[in-house]
Each structure stands twice: as C-alpha cells, then as structure tokens.
Amino acid sequence: VGILELGAHVVQTHGAVDTADWHAARDYVASQAKPDDLVTFAPRWVDPVGREQLGPALATLEREARPDETRFPRAFEVSIRGEHDPLLEGWRQSAEQRFGRVTVTTLENPSPVHVLDDLVSLVNGQRMQASRVDGDRVSDCTFTHAGTQSGGLGAGPALPADRFVCAAGGFVAATVAADLDYRPRRCIYAPPPGGHSFVRLRFLGVRLGTSIHGHHGLYVEAERNKTGSPVTITFRVGDAVVGSVVHHDGDGWKPFEFDTRALAASASKNDQGVPQVDLVADIESANGERRMYCFEADTR
C-alpha cells in the first residue's frame, strides 16, 4: 500500500499543465470562437487559471458571469484531467482537440435561442431610467460616474463606477453578485427599500420576442440564512402586467420566463419591423433589511 501510495503521489504531482498547453488551447479557441459562443473551464476550480491563460478577450465577464447557458449556440469547454462542465450535459459534441494536458471540446447547444435585448447591458443613462417610489412620490435616481465601492467578505456585491444613485437612498447598478452556490452572476443590483417603497426601472426601446427570460436572487450572505422578506419583481408594459415572480430566501439563482407573444403582436414596430416597448420592472419587499437583490433578464 505504501509503495502504491508513493507511486500515485508521483503521478499526481507531475500532472500539472504546462503554460504552452494552455497557450496552444487559447490560440485554437481564439481562432474558432465567435462572440456569441461560450468559453468555459472544467473542473470549476481551474477557472482562475483559465482566465489568466486564455486572457480577457476569450474569458470575458459576460461568459464568466453568465446567467445560464441557454443563450449560447455553441460552447468551447477548455478542460484538464478529463473533467467536464456538468452544466453542458446534453449538448452535442462536434469536435475535440487535445493540446498536451488541455482538451478543448466543442459542444453544440441542442436548443439555442436568439437574444434580442439583454437588460443588464441596458444599464446606462441612455437606455434605462431608475426611480424610487415612496407611496405617491416618485424620485428619480441619477446616473452618475464615481469611484467603485467594494469590500471584503460579507460586504456584498461591489458597486461599479457607473451607477444610478437615488436621492432617497440606494443604488442601482450592473454588477457581479455571488449567488447561493457562489457562482458569479452578472446582474442588475436593485435592492428594494422595503415597506411601501419600491424601486422602479424603466428600460427604453426594448425589442420584444416570444418571451422575457431571466433569473433573480440575492447576494449569498443576504439569503443563505433564510430570514429575509421575499422580494417581488413585476414586469409591465404600460398598464399591462407581463409577469410577476417572487423570490424567497433559499431559492438561489431562480429562473423565470414570461410569454410576450400577445404583447409583441400589439406593440409598435421599429425600423426593422421588430416589436419595441418601454419595459418597466418594479422591485419590492415588505422589509428592506439586507435585501441585496439582483436580477437579469433578456427578451428572446
């Protein structure tokens, strides 16, 4: 047993991946991947090395902190040690290339969707308005550029330099939050103030398709104790409610989907003939205590 253990140790400790293998994999992925494709790493713990070695052009924030995999027609899984990303189970393998100890597997999404507008990408002064509604009083939140705000463990998601600042208190911004499984989620940070007050976001000129697809959750340390008030997000177009969904602590990164076909049929069309609306999202909770809420949605 001792000799076997020694032998296994020698084999295991000489299994580290050469930088040259990573770079060869990077060059291959760079030559193949399109902007819509997913680039992911397996096992999960090798992600920091993957980001370092493949660089920011391939390991982008949008790919790393993706809401889910449904929007990607194709994935390049860069893996070591024969591991695979379990989230890509069911995808059809179309190619596999080995670069020393790094394997790049190309996988095709069996049911890809076409995203029309990603609401997280609309968080700016031109395409989104934010306000805080306290009873009858509506106070606008101003889109500003300031220093980023971030902290260590327990501080919550960092606030980026570009953010909406509400006069009555609070922020709205596109950030990256750790979900209940500590996965990164690029999302719209919009903590509800609680009570009769709520946050209203108006996305301008959103193209509509068959559905609004999204996820919502709270920063992990705000929801993991399951002691907070539920948070409700309601999507509206004009007076029509598109859909409403409640997030309870412990739900984690919870998906939702609303049918928008009827709404799209009656909406005005843009120059390309695509239905386009101003989409409103109201976010509310009975109690605002540590409601570090974040959501993402797209139209598809």
Binding site: A16, P48, A177
Partner: protein, 577 residues
C-alpha cells in the same frame, strides 16, 4: 565493549528510550524550524503573537513591580486580549520571543521565536507517542507510531504555528500516557503527575474538557475490583489519579491563568459558554459551503481518509482489528466463565478455541486508546458542532491512531517473519528496514510535498491536492498564503509603493511579514479592492464573492498571476488595468 553495552537496548524500557524519543523530537523540531519561514501567518496566529507579547509583558512587570502587577486592572489589561483561550502556550510563545529574539537576539525572526515553543511541544508529542508504543507493544511499534504521527501533512502544517492545535494534541497524549503509567505503577508520584498534566492540558486548549471521558472510565474499569471490594465494606474507593485530576488539575489551571484570579466563577462560566456556543465560520466540504448547523455527519471519516496517508490508515486498521479481536476473545472468555460453558459440542469447542488466544493486559491499553480516539473524534460527529477548523480540531485523535498503526506494523513484521523464516539476521535486518521504508516513504514524500500548503494537501487516495479540489474540499483558511503571493509575484513585479488589497490576511500579519522581509516594505496594504492597485484572492469557496468584487472594482476578470500548488489555484493576483 562498554560503548556497545551502552547502545544495546535492554528489553526493559528505560533512559535509552528517552534518548530515542528525544532524538525523534529534536529531528522533528529541526525540520519544523528549517521550514518555518516559508509559511505565512494565519489570522489566529497573528492574534496569538499579540496576546503573547501582552502576557510576557505582564510577567516581566510581575518580576519588576509585583504589587502593581497583581492589581486587577494590570492583570485584566494584559490578559483580556484573547481571553477566550487559556494562556499556557501564549505565555510560552511570549517568553520565547522575549528571550530568544528581543533579549538575546538568537532568533532573527520574531515570528519564529513565537513559534518555537509550539514546535518543541510537537516534538514532545512524538517522543511521548514513541514511549507509549514502546511500552505498550514494542520499540518498533513506538517508533513507527511516532514517525507516522509526524508524517501527517495536517500535523506537520499545524506543528509550525504559534497556535494550540498541535500543543493540545501533545498534551492530550501526554495526559493519557501519564494516566496509563499511573494505573500501571499505582504510585502517588504518577497520580499527582496526572493532575499536573491535566491542568496543563486545560491551560492549553478547551479540547482538554474531553479528557475525563477517557481517563475516568479507564481508571474505574482497571480498578473495578478494588472499588467493588471497598463498596462491599461500605467504603468508597476512588482511583488516586482521578482524584488528582479533579483536584490538582483545576488548581494548576487556575494558578497559571491570571485572568481567572478575579471574578473566577463568572469568567470560567464565560469561557465555557463561549466555546459551547461558538459561532460558525465558513468551510467548504464536498463542494458545499457550510456556515451553520447541521454539520455533515460524514465530515470526520471523509476528512480523515482524505488527509491521513493511506498506508497509515491501513496499518491502523490492521492494528485496531487485531486489538478488537483480542478484546472480543477476552469478552468471550469472560462469558465462558460466567456462563460455565465447557467443551463437548462443536460450537462450545469453537468457543473454547476462540478464547484460548486471548491475552490480558492489566493496563487495559486497548480500552484507553479506544476511549482516546472516541473522545477526540465524537464531538465532531455531532450535527451542532461547527466544523470550520477542518481536521485541526481532532488532531488529538491522531496519536492513538498512530499507536494502533504502530501495532499494525508489528503484526505485518511478524507476518513477514513467518513468510521468510530462513533469513539470516543481517538479511532479516535489511528486510525489516525495507518494510519500514515502504511504510514511511509515502507519508514522508507526501508531507514534504505538502509544505507550505498543508491544509490544501490531500492524500493520493483522493487524487492529491487536485483531487481534493475536484471533490470540493477546503483548500486553506485564515489568509496565510499572501506570503506565497509575495514570494512568487509581488516582491518582483509590484510597482514601487503599490497599494495591495490583502484580502483575508490581517494587518498585523502583513506588517510582520514586511518587518521580517517576507513582503516588500514599500507595499501598502488596503482593506478594500477599490483602494488597491493590486488585489489578492485567497481561494476558498465562500471567498468567491471577493473575487467577483475585484472583477467589478478593477473592470477585469483576468488575474495577472495565479499561485498554484499541484496546478490548483491558491491565490489569484489582479492588477488594476
């Protein structure tokens, strides 16, 4: 001839065995000392450095101005710092620092001077284990047990630190050993020693609360006949070692902890309540972050299998099964006597054969080691017990585990003797040496390789460090790897005067690393990623949120450098674009 007589080991365990034990201790201490500088400072250690300085300051003031020093304000001023833990080791850390570093300048790094007492105590743990094994079974068993105990990556890692986990491991086995000797000799001296050592164990760490669960049942079982005999004549007979433990132990404990000299009951009560209601910290296990009850029931067995070298576990299994079989034979023998079973039928003949091999041990060593294992491990099987410290909380179980492994090695050697009956003495010696090497080689290589990432190190059975990461087992805690980030990147690559977000590392630890030249002195620590030109993330599952904050603060997901151990990320280093 005289020299040969001096070196030759008589069958009786004596001073020569202390020389062997001390040599093992010294070798381990030297190894720890030689590797200490490559290990950064965990959060807790920084606090103990601080407390140690306060405590030794008070002892010095006691020597200089005793009357003033004995005032409650002076005592509380010095000992309130870190008063959730008793003071024996922190006082020794402080004394070592004061004498070896401050006064005599013998040890260049203050941190090493603080750590020396813990390293020495780790050596004493091996010494005690050797003696225990040698007296219980054989010198061979004792030697293998001591060596295998020292060659556990978790023990080796924690043995470096000015903390209490390896010291309590030593105090635990020392207390068990002294108690065992007290039962064997029935002398007053050994009985008093039980009380003293138990007091010192209490003064080392609260894990010692569980020692009575080992010593009392064992003493009562050994002395059951005397106790029953006394009861029959209307007297109560309590083993002297037990009396000593409950009388001398608390006296030693209270005498050494000045903070308890005032408001004693309230402060002792607070100490108990603090640990009985300890808050939960985060720790990853099988890919899930645990931060509160219930703790997973599989945690102890899985982590033991994943962190203790497999050959040690196998030898433990061989030794433990053999001892358990002997215990079963003794039990059967007792049953035969009570039930008056005689031969005649096939079944009773089998029973007679079975019990015939039973050997008795008036010291009840097997029972004692079993109790020691059980008492050290069982608190961590409870769903309410926090598991944030990983394996370090049950290091107290490992000397008993190693002793059974030593017994296992004895049995394997005996089996080799039966398989190779015709070997001449020289070849037999070579065969024994080869067997020893085959058992020790893997633990030695694995332990050497684990440094300084001892908490991230998992044994080949689960795939090593990478296998542990794939299983979702904890990689580190308490932010000690910023030193590795400095060694591999910051000291060479960081701009002059750069601000560095030091993540989980404490300010004190960072400052000390700079004082000792481990981290460049011009680098400025910051507490928020947005204040840093450079940011560190020490990888633990629950620390992912800090990673993501850096992405937002720096506008980049790309680290400029990743500190690796066997290809597994330990620290990611970001640089503001």
């Amino acid at each position: 001839v005289k020299l040969r007589a001096l070196v030759r080991l008589p069958s009786r365990i004596g001073w020569r065995d202390h020389v062997i034990g001390a040599s093992l201790a010294l070798a381990y201490f030297v190894w720890l000392l030689a590797t200490a500088r490559s290990l950064g400072f965990p959060r807790d250690e920084g606090m103990y450095f601080h407390a140690a300085t306060d405590y030794v300051g008070w002892w010095r003031s006691l020597l200089d101005h005793a009357q003033d020093a004995l005032k409650q304000s002076a005592i509380d001023g010095a000992f309130t710092d870190n008063h959730e833990h008793p003071v024996l080791m922190k006082t020794l850390f402080g004394v070592s620092w004061w004498i070896l570093h401050e006064k005599w300048g013998l040890v260049k790094d203050a941190s090493t001077a603080f750590r020396i007492p813990a390293m020495l105590v780790a050596g004493i743990g091996l010494w005690t284990t050797y003696l225990f094994g040698a007296r219980a079974w054989s010198r061979r068993a004792g030697l293998v047990a001591a060596v295998l105990l020292g060659l556990m990556p978790a023990v080796f890692f924690h043995a470096h630190l000015a903390c209490f986990d390896v010291p309590i491991m030593t105090m635990w086995i020392l207390c068990v050993y002294v108690h065992w000797r007290a039962q064997e000799t029935r002398s007053l001296g050994w009985a008093l020693a039980v009380g003293v050592v138990f007091g010192l164990a209490l003064e080392t760490k609260h894990s010692a609360w569980f020692l009575p669960a080992v010593l009392v049942p064992h003493a009562l079982f050994i002395q059951r006949r005397e106790i029953l005999r006394a009861l029959r004549v209307g007297r109560v007979s309590i083993p002297a070692s037990v009396v000593s433990m409950f009388v001398v132990g608390p006296i030693v404990f209270l005498a050494l902890w000045p903070y308890l000299w005032n408001d004693t009951l309230a402060r002792v009560q607070w100490w108990f309540e603090f640990h009985l209601n300890h808050e939960y910290y985060n720790i990853e296990y099988l890919g899930r972050n645990y931060f509160g009850p219930p703790s997973p029931k599989s945690y102890v067995p899985v982590m033991v299998l994943a962190t203790v070298p497999t050959v040690t576990i196998v030898l433990f299994g061989i030794g433990a099964v053999e001892r358990a079989a002997n215990g079963a034979r003794r039990l059967a023998h007792w049953g035969k006597r009570v039930l008056r079973i005689d031969g005649g039928t096939a079944w009773t003949n089998w029973w007679s054969d079975f019990v015939s091999g039973a050997s008795s041990d008036r010291r009840e060593t097997d029972l004692l080691l079993l109790l020691s294992l059980a008492a050290a491990l069982s608190p961590w099987l409870r769903a309410k017990t926090p598991i944030f410290g990983g394996t370090k909380h049950w290091l107290t179980a490992y000397p008993a585990l190693a002793l059974f492994a030593g017994r296992g090695f004895d049995l394997v050697t005996a089996a080799m003797g039966r398989a190779l009956p015709r070997l001449d003495p020289r070849r037999w010696l070579a065969a024994e040496a080869g067997l020893f090497a085959s058992v020790v080689a893997a633990p030695l290589v694995v332990t050497v390789h684990s440094h300084p990432y001892g908490i991230a190190a998992y044994v080949p059975l689960v795939g090593g460090t990478a296998g542990g990461a794939t299983l979702g087992l904890n990689r580190q805690f308490w932010g000690y790897t910023s030193q590795n980030a400095a060694e591999e990147y910051l000291n060479e690559q960081a701009p002059r005067g750069a601000s560095v977000f030091i993540h989980d590392t404490t300010w004190d630890a960072w400052a000390r690393m700079q004082q000792e030249g481990r981290v460049r002195k011009d680098l400025r620590a910051t507490g928020a990623p947005n204040d840093g030109q450079i940011a560190l993330v020490e990888h633990e599952l629950h620390m992912n949120e800090v990673d993501y904050s850096i992405w937002t603060a720096f506008g980049s997901v790309t680290p400029v450098y990743v500190v690796l151990h066997d290809g597994v990320p330990m620290v990611s280093i970001y640089r503001r674009p």
